[in-house]
Amino acid sequence: MKVPLLNIDALINDPQTRIIVCCGAGGVGKTTTAAALGLRAAESGRRVVVLTIDPARRLAQSLGLTTLDNTPRPVKDVDDTRGGSLDAMMLDMKRTFDEVVEAHATADKAEQILANPFYQAVSSSFAGTQEYMAMEKLGQLRLEADRNPDHPRWDLIVVDTPPSRSALDFLDAPKRLGSFLDGRFIRLLTAPAKAGGRAYLKVFSAGVNIATKTLTKVLGGQMLSDVQTFVAALDTMFGGFRKRADHTYALLSDRTTTFIVVAAPERDALREASYFVDRLDEEQMPLAGLVVNRMYRVSARGLSAARALGAAEELGDEARDNSSVVTSSGASERTAITQGLLRMHAVQAEIAARHESLAKSFIAGHPDIPMVKVPAASGDIHDLVGLRAVGEALAGH
């Protein structure tokens, strides 16, 4: 079966590509892939910003991300001979949320919201907020990039998705927000605070009473009123919020956006990749292809595991035969080295074969998805030299 190759260089060199979203299960090397793509694009002449969500400490340091200030900063030591540049930033979700509030509400309303205990908890410490804010930040970066169409600050945004419960959360965040903003529950929470809602409420006021009573019972009066104040305050900025979420979702399905699904040669990671590929297809989102990181490869490619093991055994037999006659210990030690090398090769060749077969089973289910395999590095990657090497591998070199 001929598998289409994911041509990374064609993708990053195409001026039509404005956003690349890297997604996939946790622990597959998403952040490294995003950073390596960004670096490669910058060094081939693009003006790039990489948005990382939760980078490993040393990778972050290699990008100069030592402080978390929610602003893109230039990465040092990038080769700019082709006119490109690389900025990088780490998402600060609380700060991003605060900025949204400040941008959409009047000064006194904003102050009221920022001081609300419910808002503070939601914006800083709860899981789930990250997905919304990653989307929001992506929208902001795009706006900033386009501010001056003649001299865009960036012409390519590379996004690393949050380490979600599921890779799909990222995609669902704007829709969920939208359905919430349109929902009856919002009206239930905001209605008592709004005089204009009364007439409408009469229609289902019995239900409202039960619901409100229940909420009071469960949450306690004080918490319910905090929640209500929060929602009422947010109400004034819902329009803007909603528009933004819709806009970002539209941006994701735009022709200038492309998704790269990242996986590792493990059953679970490939299953997740498979879900994601199907889901992007359903939503008609533009998918460039699949990157399979950490593919194990042997160097002595012509030697099969079985033959290596057979040869190792033969050497073992020979050593035993010799030892019953005369021993030249130097010779048997040397042979032990060769035996060791052959056994080690056999184990590695088996791992490599397993990785290949996992990749093949993915291809069998998705024969049209372009793929590129990135060999496993023997150590972790935490500097620009390492990222450049990953970039080379991504480009199939």
């Binding site: 946790g26 419910f118 899981a127 380490p163 039960i210 299953r271 060791g340 590695q348």
Partner: protein
Amino acid sequence: MAPDAGSARDTDWDGVRLHIVTGKGGTGKTTVAAALALALAGEGRKVLLAEVEGRQGISQSFDVPPLALTETRIAHAAHAGEVFGLAVDPKAALLEYLQMYYKLGRAGGVLEKFGAIDFATTIAPGVRDVLLTGKVYEAVRRRRDHRAKGPGAAPAYDAVVVDAPPTGRVVRFLNVNHEVADLARVGPIRSQANSITAMLKSPQTAVHLVTLLEEMPVQETVDTIAELRSVGMPIGGVIINQVREEILTPDVLEAASRNAISRADVAADLTRVHLRATDAVLDGLLTEARDHAERVTLEREQAEVIEGLGRPTYRLPSLSEGVDANGIREMAETLMAQGMA
């Protein structure tokens, strides 16, 4: 406590009833959680294995149909031990909670109609985690005979194992009740959250960390232990997963890293056993040996970092065939042999 069938064997976590298993993505925490549940169920115990992220990882690990909303027996262990599986669903947990504590009945349905249930379980950030930990709390406290009360009553499960969120989110997940308690200064949610937090921080609970001998997962293990400590969560053991068998002797490794293996000797050996000692094969084998030596050195450094943590440590070998239901049994036996269960 129930008559303890396992009292003859001392294990490292006697007295712990809630085992929370976390690890960086890709370290195999789900299979380790499954193996631990199976190991704990040995000696005729009843163990619940709960997953909280809706991935159906348990059904895939044990090769059983996807778990429904009820607790289902998924495996038998030695001496009539049993493992039950549960995929905790926040919506079901919320409705059950409302029914159990508030006897809501129809009002629960009204909340559902207004979208309040959807709001709480999918949109309101954090509530989901409260519900998930709340359900785990309920399972740990449940009695075999639901009318029995007090500390003497036999628990429904001898142990509960949770396949928890990965290291990046686990502290937030476990500490979410603490946050809620700050938010709801009075009222029923506050007292419920306080009870959950008290259980999670008690000596009945242990948070175990799964890692590989690689830099990033080890770094996350170190960071997560520090974070858990700072919020007062009881830290369990460290499980090093996918440990590769040592094939080369220390001498050979050392020679390989110095590029000091004699190419001519290897060529002679290969030729004697009728393998064609081409340059490609010879260079390939020597390169592999050098890369392998480099990797082993990195792994040793990481093993030392883990040792420096001073936690009970367990090692699970890499299973060449990948992990299936049989692999999980093998892993369970290894954990038992090493005293984890």
